[in-house]
């Protein structure tokens, strides 16, 4: 479980996160949604400590992450995997070396064992025969999948995904979404996903957090979000013609 207590973050006098308290449960895909610029990325970076919060605390299974020094954080970082918006693969390493990277740094496994683990992870994200390609030779969707493979190489307890399906076609998006959701259930991971894709919200949103004006505006499940009366949520969810049509037919 990941919990944030009253976290605030501002840049200059621009308050981006205003007193956010939220819990993300284990074995669930937790989504953070909101308009572009609403602070989703900032919230995620505060959770993982890439940005320091101005006030408030972040807990990982009741361990106070905010009060730890680099060494103590490192132990928790080893339990984290993160999928970045652009993939963030190391572009001077091959696909295989990318996935093997955390294993090289933090385990003393033999080369065979490491290769086996890499193969397992790449298979898990349905990639075959790409081990020796460079990241620049991959399509956007493949990069995301290699990224996921790298993120799960160390068997993380916590998985963070910043816009896993931005820039992908709808079909590939759904594939990636389902992949993350399956992995979450399979290994009982606490997964947090930033997204503004309504498809993901409805497909895989076990727990949805809606950010608006720097505040946690609404929280609920993918069933609840379709029937809430909250005005801001509705204007976000039913922003497209398609969604409005679905609503009028359904209700």
């Amino acid at each position: 479980m990941i919990e944030s207590r009253n976290i605030c973050k501002s840049f200059g006098d621009h308050l981006v996160l205003d007193n956010i308290s939220v819990k993300f449960d284990q074995g669930k895909t937790n989504l953070i949604i909101g308009q572009s610029g609403s602070g989703k990325t900032v919230l995620m970076k505060c959770l993982v400590g890439l940005l320091e919060v101005d006030s408030g605390q972040v807990f990982f299974n009741d361990r106070n992450f905010s009060e730890m020094n680099f060494k103590e954080r490192k132990l928790i970082r080893h339990e984290m995997g993160m999928l970045f918006q652009g993939g963030a693969l190391f572009d001077y390493l091959t696909v295989e070396e990318n996935v093997m990277f955390p294993l090289n740094m933090f385990t003393s496994k033999s080369l065979e064992e490491k290769k086996e683990r890499v193969n397992f992870c790449l298979n898990r994200v349905n990639l075959i025969n790409v081990e020796n390609l460079m990241p620049s030779e991959l399509s956007g969707g493949m990069k995301k999948r290699v990224s996921i493979a790298r993120a799960i190489a160390m068997n993380p307890k916590y998985l963070f995904c910043d816009e896993p399906n931005s820039g992908l076609d709808p079909k590939t998006s759904i594939l990636i979404d389902n992949l993350i959701s399956e992995i979450t259930k399979e290994y009982n991971i606490t997964t947090v996903i930033n997204t503004h894709d309504m498809n993901s919200v409805i497909e895989i949103g076990d727990n949805i957090v809606f950010l608006y004006n720097g505040k946690l505006w609404w929280q609920g499940t993918n069933k609840e979000i379709l029937y809430t009366n909250n005005e801001e949520i509705n204007s976000f969810v039913y922003a497209t013609e398609l969604m409005r049509k679905l609503k009028s037919e359904n209700i």
């Binding site: 680099f70 490192k74 132990l75 080893h78 984290m80 993160m82 918006q85 652009g86 963030a88 740094m105």
Partner: protein, 247 residues
């Protein structure tokens, strides 16, 4: 002014993160070897060409300046040697390397910053400053003095070539000149300067790359800043070290 102080402060803080124990010895050793290849061997060609040509020019200029019977001919060898060891090889070559190596380091690390690769390292629990910058510093502080020794030899060789080709002096006189009043301390001075300059080039361009913000345009800026800052610091420390060691 405030900006300069802020930069110095941030630089020192970064160096404190750079100089920590590497995560894993084997990985670190491999990185150093890669960097020696990238930063050192890759520059060998340009260093060699520059050195031969500069040595030749120095010899021609000296010969031109001593067109008087009162000054012995071996002065050509002597002066060429002094200029090469004291200033040309350690300082000029380091400035060239600041352009070549500095821009490369700053743009490499800057690109990793803007594409979130540095964040990816941090998330894994890796001290990215240490992982990315320390191998470069160590590799350059080790390999640059070797490059400079090679440069000195080739510079002297260039001087000798033009001297005998231009019939200025004989090989014996040139050899006598380059050994005349030779002090080993001057080589030490040259190597100390080179090592300090190597540290400046790698750490300063590592710093400007590491704190790149934004996108591709800013990576270009970071790389320019890396070259400019390290060149200025090289000139400054050249004065300081010369005052300390020779003054």
């Amino acid at each position: 002014m405030l900006q300069i102080l802020r930069n110095i402060g941030a630089y020192i803080l970064l160096m404190r993160r750079v100089f920590t124990k590497p995560e894993k010895k084997e990985v670190f050793r491999k990185q150093i070897i890669t960097e020696i290849d990238f930063l050192g061997l890759d520059s060998l060609g340009i260093v060699a060409v520059l050195s031969v040509f500069m040595g030749s020019v120095l010899a021609i200029q000296t010969a031109y300046n001593i067109d008087s019977p009162w000054i012995p001919k071996y002065t050509i060898g002597f002066t060429t040697r002094q200029s090469i060891i004291l200033e040309f090889s350690p300082t000029i070559i380091s400035l060239i390397l600041a352009g070549k190596v500095g821009s490369r380091i700053a743009s490499e690390i800057g690109t990793m910053r803007v594409t979130e690769q540095i964040d990816a390292l941090e998330i894994m629990g890796i001290n990215s400053a240490n992982y990315l910058i320390l191998p470069k510093i160590i590799a350059a502080v080790f390999i640059n003095p070797i490059l400079i020794v090679i440069s000195i030899f080739l510079g002297l060789l260039g001087g000798w070539l033009v001297s005998i080709l231009g019939n200025d002096i004989t090989t014996e006189t040139y050899l006598y000149g380059i050994q005349y009043c030779f002090k080993g301390f001057e080589i030490f001075y040259a190597l100390v300067k080179t090592a300090v300059f190597a540290f400046i080039i790698t750490s300063v361009s590592g710093y400007t790359g590491y704190y790149t913000k934004g996108g591709a345009l800013e990576v270009g800026w970071a790389s320019t800043k890396g070259v400019v800052y390290s060149s200025i610091l090289i000139i400054l420390f050249n004065l300081i070290l010369t005052q300390l060691l020779l003054g």
